[in-house]
C-alpha cells in the first residue's frame, strides 16, 4: 500500500487523464478496456479475465456492461508518469443515463467504432452528449482485422456525420485548482453491508484527505471520510485525492439519500460557495408492477429495491397494491432490458420470487405518451423498418441518407408501441444492422380503451391493458387465447374473459384437469413418487394465486408475447 501511495504521488496533476470510451454495443469497448488494463500493467496477465470490468455475473453472461466502472492505470511515456482513469460505460440504449453520468466526470473520450460496421445511432447520441460536455474526442477505429473491415469508409463516415478530423491529436489539461475549496461530484454509489454507502466521485476543485470532515451539499449531511482511495480497478486506499482525480470514499454513511448521485462533496469546515451542476434525473420509460409471490416477502422486496436503487439511480419505485396481486411496487425502468436485469438481480442477489407484470406506459385520461424515434439502418432494410413504424401506429416524419448506404428514419409513435418488443423487431427485421434512439415528445390525444381481463370471474388489474379502440377486439381475442395457453389447467373449469367495462368482448375457458393420479407404489418405494409430487408442489410455488387460480409469471407477460407472435 505504501509503495502504491508513493508512486501515485509522483504523477503530476497535469498528467492525469480522465476518459471514457464511447462505443456501440458489441463494437469492442470492453475488450479495448481489457487491453488497456493489461498493457498498463494495472491487472497482471494471469489475473486477467475477459471483460475484467464487467464484474457482475449478469454482465459477463450477457456480454454487456450494465454498471459504469472506473479503473486507474499508470503509464510511463517519455520518462513521465501518467495517471489514466478509465471510466467504462454501458453501451446498450437502455443505459444511456449511466453514460451521461460517466461522461460528466471525464475530460476526454475514446470514440470506438467498429471498422466493419460503422457509426450507429446510439454512438452518435453519446458523441453529441460528449461534445455537449466539452470532451476531447479521439476516434478509434476498432476491429480492423476483421475480413469485412472498411476503415477508410468508416473514417469517412465519422468525418461526414460527426464532422471530426480523424487524425485528431490528444490534448488535455487538468486545471490546477488545489487551493480552492473542495468540490467533488458524486457520479455513482453502492451499498456495502460492512462499510455503508461507498461513494464514487471526481474531484473538480481542491483536495480531499483521509479523515477530513466532509459535507454533502444537497443533503447538508456531514460525515468523516474514514477511507478514500482510487479504483485500480479494485479499490486501493490512498491518503489524498487531487482535483482532476477520480476515486471513492467511505464514511459510514447509512442512507443513500444522504449522498445522492449528482450531489457535490465539500469540506464541512470550508464549504464551497455553490454546488456543481448535478446530473439530470433519469426518466423511466417503462413501468411495471413488481409483486412478491409470497406476500411475506414484501418488506424484503422493499429493502432490496432500496439497495439496488443505491447502485442504480435510474430505478424508480413506489408501493402499489392490487386486490389480485396483493402488495408490491410500481417500478420505473429505462427500458425492457433494464427491467429484466433488475428482476434477475432481485431474484439472484436477494433471493426473492417475483411476478412482474407486463410493461405499460403512463397515460393521462385520453392522452397517450408519444415519442420520436430515430432509426439508423443500411439502405436495404429501409422497407422492413418503415413497415414496422407503420404497424406500430407511427407517423413518418423524415428520412435522410447519412452516407451513401445508411439512412436515418424518423417516426413519431406512441410510447406504448415501443415498450414491448420494438427494439427486438427492429433488430430482427434488419438482420441486426439497424439501431435506434428515442426521446419523449409529450402526451398526444388518442382514442383508447381499457381492456380488462377476468380469470375465473376475478378481475386481474395486472393483466389490464390500454389499447387503441380499433385494436380492442383483436387484442382481446388474442390475449384470452394466449392466457389459455400459458395458464396451466386447474382442478376446475376456469373462464378467461376480456372485457371493456362490463361488456365481455372475448372469452375462452380452461377445461378442468380430469385425471392426475399415480397409481402404484411398487414394493413400498415411495421416494420416486414423492419426488414427483415435490416437483409438482415447487411448480405451484412459482405461481401467483389469483383467487383460486394459480397463474405463472409468463402469463403476466402475455401482452408482450402477443406482439411478438402477431408481428413475426
Amino acid at each position: 500500500m505504501a509503495t502504491a501511495t508513493a508512486s501515485r504521488l509522483a504523477v503530476p496533476i497535469s498528467n492525469i487523464r480522465n476518459f471514457s470510451i464511447i462505443a456501440h454495443i458489441d463494437h469492442g469497448k470492453s475488450t479495448l478496456a481489457d487491453k488497456l488494463l493489461e498493457l498498463t500493467g494495472t491487472v497482471q496477465k494471469r489475473e486477467m479475465k475477459e471483460q475484467f470490468l464487467d464484474n457482475m455475473d449478469l454482465e459477463r453472461e450477457r456480454g454487456i456492461t450494465i454498471k459504469l466502472q472506473a479503473a486507474r492505470m499508470r503509464y510511463i511515456m517519455n520518462n513521465e508518469p501518467y495517471c489514466l482513469n478509465l471510466i467504462d460505460t454501458p453501451g446498450h440504449v437502455d443505459f444511456s443515463y449511466e453514460v451521461s453520468r460517466s461522461l460528466a466526470a471525464c475530460e476526454g473520450a475514446l470514440l470506438v467504432v467498429d471498422a466493419s460496421q460503422g457509426v450507429e445511432a446510439q454512438t452518435l447520441a453519446n458523441v453529441y452528449l460528449a461534445l455537449e460536455n466539452d470532451l476531447e474526442i479521439i476516434p478509434v477505429l476498432n476491429k480492423i482485422d476483421l475480413p469485412g473491415a472498411e476503415p477508410d469508409r468508416v473514417a469517412q463516415e465519422i468525418e461526414e456525420i460527426i464532422g471530426m478530423d480523424c487524425s485528431n491529436a490528444i490534448r488535455c489539461s487538468a486545471k490546477d485548482t488545489a487551493k480552492s475549496p473542495l468540490r467533488a461530484l458524486i457520479f455513482d454509489s453502492y451499498y456495502d453491508p460492512y462499510r455503508g454507502v461507498i461513494v464514487y466521485f471526481r474531484v473538480v476543485d481542491g483536495t480531499i484527505k483521509k479523515g477530513e470532515k466532509i459535507c454533502f451539499m444537497a443533503s447538508g449531511k456531514e460525515y468523516v471520510a474514514d477511507e478514500i482511495g482510487v479504483l485500480s480497478p479494485t479499490q486501493m486506499q490512498v491518503s489524498e485525492l487531487y482535483a482532476g482525480e477520480v476515486g471513492y470514499l467511505s464514511a459510514s454513511i447509512r442512507s443513500v439519500a444522504d449522498a445522492r448521485v449528482g450531489d457535490t462533496i465539500t469540506h464541512a469546515s470550508k464549504k464551497a460557495e455553490c454546488a456543481l451542476p448535478g446530473y439530470s434525473e433519469a426518466t423511466p420509460m417503462v413501468f411495471c408492477g413488481l409483486f412478491p409471490i409470497d406476500a411475506d416477502q414484501f418488506e424484503e422486496l422493499r429493502e432490496a429495491l432500496e439497495k439496488l436503487q443505491l447502485n442504480d439511480a435510474a430505478l424508480k419505485f413506489e408501493p402499489e397494491s392490487s386486490s389480485a396481486m396483493g402488495f408490491g411496487f410500481r417500478c420505473g425502468f429505462l427500458g425492457l432490458l433494464h427491467m429484466e436485469i433488475v428482476q434477475e438481480r432481485l431474484e439472484r442477489e436477494y433471493n426473492l420470487n417475483l411476478i412482474i407484470t407486463a410493461p405499460s406506459v403512463v397515460y393521462h385520461v385520453n392522452l397517450a405518451d408519444g415519442e420520436t424515434i430515430e432509426m439508423l439502418t443500411p439502405k436495404e432494410y429501409i422497407g422492413p423498418i418503415m413497415e414496422l413504424g407503420q404497424e406500430r401506429r407511427g407517423e413518418f416524419k423524415e428520412m435522410n441518407f447519412i452516407t451513401e448506404n445508411r439512412a436515418s428514419v424518423v417516426y413519431e409513435l406512441p410510447l406504448a408501441e415501443m415498450v414491448g418488443d420494438f427494439f427486438d423487431q427492429l433488430k430482427s427485421r434488419s438482420k441486426g444492422y439497424a439501431s435506434m434512439e428515442y426521446s419523449l415528445i409529450g402526451y398526444r390525444e388518442s382514442n383508447l380503451v381499457k381492456l380488462d381481463i377476468q380469470i375465473n370471474g376475478d378481475p386481474v388489474e395486472a393483466l389490464s391493458t390500454i389499447v387503441h379502440r380499433d385494436k380492442a377486439y383483436s387484442v382481446g381475442r388474442a390475449l384470452t387465447q394466449k392466457l389459455k395457453e400459458l395458464i396451466p389447467r386447474q382442478m376446475f373449469r376456469v373462464p378467461i374473459q376480456a372485457c371493456i367495462g362490463a361488456k365481455v368482448i372475448a372469452s375462452e375457458a380452461l377445461s378442468a384437469i380430469r385425471k392426475d393420479v399415480l397409481s402404484k407404489c411398487y414394493g413400498g418405494d415411495i421416494s420416486r413418487k414423492k419426488k414427483l409430487l415435490k416437483k409438482q408442489a415447487e411448480g405451484k410455488k412459482r405461481m401467483k394465486a389469483i383467487g383460486r387460480v394459480d397463474v405463472p409469471q409468463e402469463a403476466f407477460m402475455a401482452v408482450l408475447k402477443l406482439e411478438k407472435e402477431s408481428s413475426t
Binding site: 384437469i513 385425471k515 393420479v517 397409481s519 414394493g523 421416494s527 409438482q536
Partner: protein, 458 residues
C-alpha cells in the same frame, strides 16, 4: 433455549411399545401411528426374474428368456441370486431384539412365480430364523399366468403362502400382446381356474391395467366383468404410467392416440370404481379394492407409514425412520451385500426432517379411504400446519373433491369444517379425518397432495 425445547420434546412421538402381536384386522380402521414408526413387522422380498420385460416396465428385473417357462431349479442366475438374498437376510440385524415377529411377507417382482418353491422356502426359513414369523402371518406372492401349474401352486401354499396376487392385466389377447406380456388369454383363464380352486387358498388378488394403447371402453368393461366373475377377494387396478426409458415411453405420449385421451382414461377409472363397488368391493386405496376384511395387510403397512424390511435387488426399506433403496444393478447390489456383511454399511437411525415426515404422512394417508387423521397429525406436526392444511383444502371440500369425516368416518357437511376452522383450536372437534373422494378426489390426487406439499414446505 432449554426451557423452550421441553414442550417440543413432549411432542416427540415417543410411544409405549406396542403389544408383540398387533391386531391387524382392526388396524386398518385405526389412525396411522405418528412417526417414527415402531419396529418393522413386515418384509418385502424382491424376486426380479421375468421371462421378458413388459413394454411399460421400468423395474429392476432380470429377463430370463423363454427357455424355461416354469422356472428351472438349476438356472444359476436364480440360485446365485437367492444365495445373495439369503446373505442379505442373515446380515440384517433385527431392529428389536424381542418379540417382533413378522406379520406380513410379500414376494414381489419381477415374476416371483418363476422361482422354484424350494428356493422360496429357503427365503422363508431364513426370515423365520432371523426375525421370527407370527402365528398367522400374511404371506403374499405375485404370480403371472403361464409361469406355474397346480402342483407348484399347491407346493407354495404348503410352505405357508396364503395370498396370491395374479398379474392378469387384461382380458384381451390383442392388448396383452401389445403390452409385451409373456402370456395370453388362455393362460389367464387357466391361472384363474387354478388359483380360485386351490385348496387352502382363500385370499387372492387380481391386477388389471387401464388406459392401455388401443383399449376401448368396451374392452375395459369386459375386463371388469370377467374379473367380477372370477370373484377374487382383492383387486388392484392400475392406471398405465408411461415411464421414460421403456418401450412405451419411446412409442407413446400420455393422452395421445393410441393411448386413450385424458377424458377417456379418467372415465376408465370411474367405471372401475363404479363396477367394482357395485360388485361388493371396497375402494380402500387409490388403486386397491377388496371384499370386506381382505385388505392387503402388507400394503396397508405402506399406507399407514409403518416401517418395513426389504430384501433384494432395488428394493426399498423403511427402518428406524430411514427410507433406503438398494442398488438396482446386480453387480452393485452384490457389492452392497458384501459391505453389509463386513459391517461397512448399517441401517443407521436417521433423522428425517419434520417436513419430510409430514409429507410422507399426508401423501400416504390421502391415498386411502381412511384418510388423514387430523388429531394425530395435529399432535405430531402442530396446530398451525394442520389448520393451514384444512384451509387449503376448504374450497375442495366445498366442490366435493375432499371429504371431511367425523370420528366414525361418516361424511360431514362442508360447513362443519368451516365451523371447526372458525374456532381457535377447533380442528378436530367435529372433523376428525379428511379424505379424497372416490372417484373424483382420487383422480386428482397428485394435484391435491402436491398442493398440501406446497403448504408443508412453503
Amino acid at each position: 433455549m432449554l426451557r423452550s425445547a421441553f414442550p417440543l420434546v413432549s411432542h416427540l412421538p415417543i410411544r409405549p411399545r406396542p403389544p408383540p402381536v398387533r391386531p391387524y384386522a382392526a388396524s386398518a380402521a385405526n389412525p396411522p401411528p405418528p412417526p417414527p414408526p415402531p419396529p418393522p413387522a413386515s418384509a418385502y422380498v424382491h424376486l426380479p426374474f421375468c421371462r421378458k420385460r413388459c413394454h411399460y416396465c421400468d423395474f429392476p428385473i432380470v429377463a430370463l428368456g423363454t427357455s424355461s417357462p416354469h422356472g428351472d431349479g438349476d438356472d444359476p442366475r436364480i440360485t446365485d441370486y437367492i444365495r445373495l438374498l439369503l446373505r442379505e437376510v442373515a446380515a440384517t440385524p433385527p431392529v428389536s431384539d424381542d418379540g417382533f415377529p413378522l406379520e406380513t411377507v410379500f414376494f414381489g417382482g419381477g415374476t416371483p412365480s418363476l422361482v422354484p418353491p424350494s428356493l422360496v422356502a429357503a427365503v422363508l426359513d431364513a426370515l423365520r430364523a432371523r426375525f421370527g414369523l407370527s402365528a398367522s402371518p400374511e404371506i403374499s406372492i405375485e404370480m403371472d399366468p403361464g409361469t406355474f401349474d397346480a402342483a407348484k401352486l399347491r407346493e407354495l401354499v404348503g410352505l405357508g403362502v396364503n395370498r396370491v396376487s395374479l398379474g392378469v392385466q387384461a382380458f384381451q389377447d390383442d392388448l396383452l400382446r401389445s403390452c409385451g406380456r409373456a402370456h395370453g388369454l388362455r393362460e389367464v383363464h387357466e391361472a384363474v381356474g387354478m388359483v380360485s380352486s386351490c385348496e387352502g387358498l382363500q385370499n387372492w388378488s387380481m391386477d388389471l391395467i387401464s388406459s392401455l394403447p388401443n383399449q376401448t371402453e368396451e374392452m375395459w368393461e369386459e375386463s371388469l366383468r370377467c374379473t367380477v366373475e372370477a370373484n377374487p377377494t382383492h383387486m388392484s387396478v392400475y392406471d398405465l404410467q408411461i415411464e421414460q426409458g421403456t418401450k412405451f415411453g419411446q412409442l407413446y405420449t400420455p393422452g395421445v392416440y393410441p393411448l386413450p385421451s385424458e377424458t377417456d382414461s379418467a372415465n376408465f377409472y370411474k367405471i372401475a370404481s363404479k363396477r367394482l363397488c357395485e360388485a361388493g368391493y371396497n375402494h380402500y386405496e387409490i388403486s386397491s379394492y377388496c371384499k370386506t376384511g381382505y385388505e392387503c395387510k402388507h400394503n396397508v403397512t405402506y399406507w399407514q407409514n409403518r416401517s418395513f424390511y426389504a430384501f433384494g435387488l432395488g428394493s426399498a426399506s423403511y427402518i428406524n425412520g430411514v427410507r433406503f433403496s438398494r442398488p438396482r444393478r446386480m453387480k452393485e447390489y452384490a457389492d452392497w451385500v458384501q459391505r453389509l456383511e463386513n459391517g461397512a454399511w448399517s441401517h443407521v437411525s436417521g433423522n428425517a426432517g419434520m417436513k419430510d415426515m409430514a409429507m410422507d404422512v399426508v401423501m400416504l394417508s390421502l391415498r386411502t379411504a381412511w384418510g388423514l387423521d387430523l388429531r394425530s397429525f395435529n399432535k405430531s406436526f402442530g396446530r398451525s400446519l394442520t389448520e393451514s392444511l384444512c384451509n387449503t383444502f376448504r374450497p375442495f371440500v366445498e366442490t366435493g373433491l375432499v371429504i371431511a369425516m367425523d370420528m366414525e368416518r361418516r361424511a360431514l357437511h362442508p360447513s362443519d369444517l368451516e365451523l371447526d376452522l372458525q374456532h381457535e383450536g377447533g380442528i378436530g372437534s367435529r372433523v376428525a379425518f379428511i379424505r379424497l373422494s372416490d372417484p373424483d378426489g382420487f383422480l386428482l390426487s397428485n394435484e391435491l397432495i402436491s398442493l398440501a406439499f406446497s403448504i408443508i414446505s412453503p
